[in-house]
Symmetry: C2
Subunit: 322 residues, 2 copies
């Protein structure tokens, strides 16, 4: 089968169809390129193999035949159910976990991929294939609401204007009276503004950082670049919350004194609840299709990866039927 | 009056008695050398002036004469009562605050110092002068319980075996079934063990870090050295809490991916509630006198600072009567 792999370089390669062995074999319909995929191609997690963890598929084979033919999305963390964290109900953090296209498990940028049955969620008819690809990152955005309490009077800043930042802004904008998205690209800021966010150019804020210092109750760092963290730490008020969504391949380096002196709470935030993301898409509470910049057939995945790394580009989708 | 100042070097200097102007003039009885004082002498906060913020004193002059002659300790943050943070009830984080011996206000290592009346707490007779000097750092240790919930089943690690780490261990050991203090000095570990903590040599843990990785629900970083943060991040379990007590003069540099991937919550923690610290000392729930390594008269403060920087030394007190 065709697959997009990373083996030091991103390339289209012929791979054999994976063995299901007790799990579900999924025929992938669409997949999406995520920043984590781009970070992997820069060395993140030292992963090599089939890429991709944002997808929608049809169940081809399954231990429970009632699932065959269903359209599904899949949670990406596969748990052992045996370690202390699994037994404690934190399967997403399982010590022996594999992660689709990230840790020890071939990803979804292929004609087929394999996941445990328990990871699957059926996609309601109201949600299109393209929209379904956003369930995984949208769940990651929803995770913030599982981790912290937001009050309507909280002033929230989202740093970054990329795909994840946009989803976060859409999820949080309904929770507060003032959400400000701070980014670098006119077109992306315009879209966020259209979705109800106040928007600011990062340059403006950075040039007048003293004025902006400590002016947000909650700051979500989703720039994807390490310098975003220091800016976030400056923008959050004493005793405020800094939600850390970016995973950087590089080391983070910053002056930690304000973290202690201002008693900031930093909350690392990763994968989230698929059911809540599906419900939001089904109720049309978030608008993801305007975030699609380009579509490529799977066979042109190498080109799609090059495109995804260009400035100003949002989501690049791969169509697996082509 | 005699005062210990930092002006690029720690020295004994003659200073004029400060003007009270609406605040209380305090005759200092004892003061203590804190790690923050040592950090200041390395450039932290770029503070220059009279050092010291851990002290006990008698009220010499006060707007309310009922206070004159009382034995007091004093909160170190002096608020403006006018900025957004003050109006929001977060006076300790006031944007215009001065901080005794740290930011814009001469410290307590002098015959006299000055603080607003509202910062003063009368010291009950059951608490000795030497013990009273520990109210400020003990309050900082108590602050952790104001910020996070600890359950008896939580496995807690305190990194560091210095003065603050010892106070933290004593405060937290009653809250959990297993508290482990990880340090470098035999004598300090012995004392912590005597106070009910399990103890480990840092070297042992670092040599077998894979085994210890993710094995604590709560890790308190109180080593005072930046490498402590990376160790803390390794020791805390996924979705666990890392309480950050150390303030480093240097930048912090670490791999931030585990923070996000493991959804760690980092909580910066600084000054705490004096009333709770006083209550614990009054009830003899914490034992601070064994933490006193040396006493010097104020006039030998330069020597006292040199001594405080030596390994194995815990609290160095200055006696202002001498």
């Amino acid at each position: 089968m065709n697959a997009i792999v990373f083996d030091g370089k991103v390339r289209l390669r012929q791979e054999s169809v994976p063995e299901a062995s007790g799990e579900a074999l999924l025929r992938v319909l669409r997949s999406g390129i995520c920043n984590t995929d781009l970070e992997i191609t820069r060395g993140y997690h030292r992963y090599q193999g089939v890429l991709g963890h944002e997808f929608v598929a049809r169940v081809e084979e399954a231990p429970d035949p009632a699932w065959i033919g269903k359209r599904v999305v899949g949670e990406i963390n596969c748990a052992c159910h045996d370690c202390d964290l699994c037994l404690d109900g934190r399967e997403r953090h399982c010590r022996q976990r594999t992660v689709l296209g990230i840790v020890g498990r071939p990803g979804a940028m292929a004609e087929f991929c394999v996941l445990p049955m328990e990871n699957l969620h059926e996609v309601p008819d109201e949600i299109s294939d393209d929209e379904s690809v956003f369930v995984e990152p949208l769940a990651a955005a929803c995770e913030i609401l599982e981790q912290i309490k937001i009050r309507p009077i909280d002033r929230i800043a989202v740093l970054g204007d990329g795909k994840l930042a946009q989803l976060i802004a859409q999820v949080l904008v309904g929770e507060t009276d003032t959400l400000t998205l701070i980014g670098k690209h006119r077109n992306k800021l315009d879209f966020a503004a259209h979705m109800g966010a106040e928007v600011k150019f990062a340059e403006e804020v950075e040039q007048d950082l003293r004025r902006w210092a400590g002016s947000f109750d909650v700051v979500v760092e989703a720039t994807g670049v390490p310098s975003g963290f220091q800016t976030a730490l400056t923008l959050v008020r004493p005793r405020g919350i800094l939600v850390m969504k970016s995973t950087y391949h590089e080391n983070l380096r910053f002056d930690a004194a304000p973290l202690v002196v201002n008693e900031i709470q930093v909350v690392g935030s990763r994968c989230g609840p698929f059911d809540k993301a599906l419900a939001r898409l089904q109720r049309h509470e978030v608008h993801v299709l305007p975030l699609v910049s380009e579509r490529y057939p799977l066979s042109r995945g190498e080109e799609a990866f090059r495109r995804a790394q260009e400035g100003g580009v949002l989501k690049v989708l791969l169509d697996h039927s082509g």
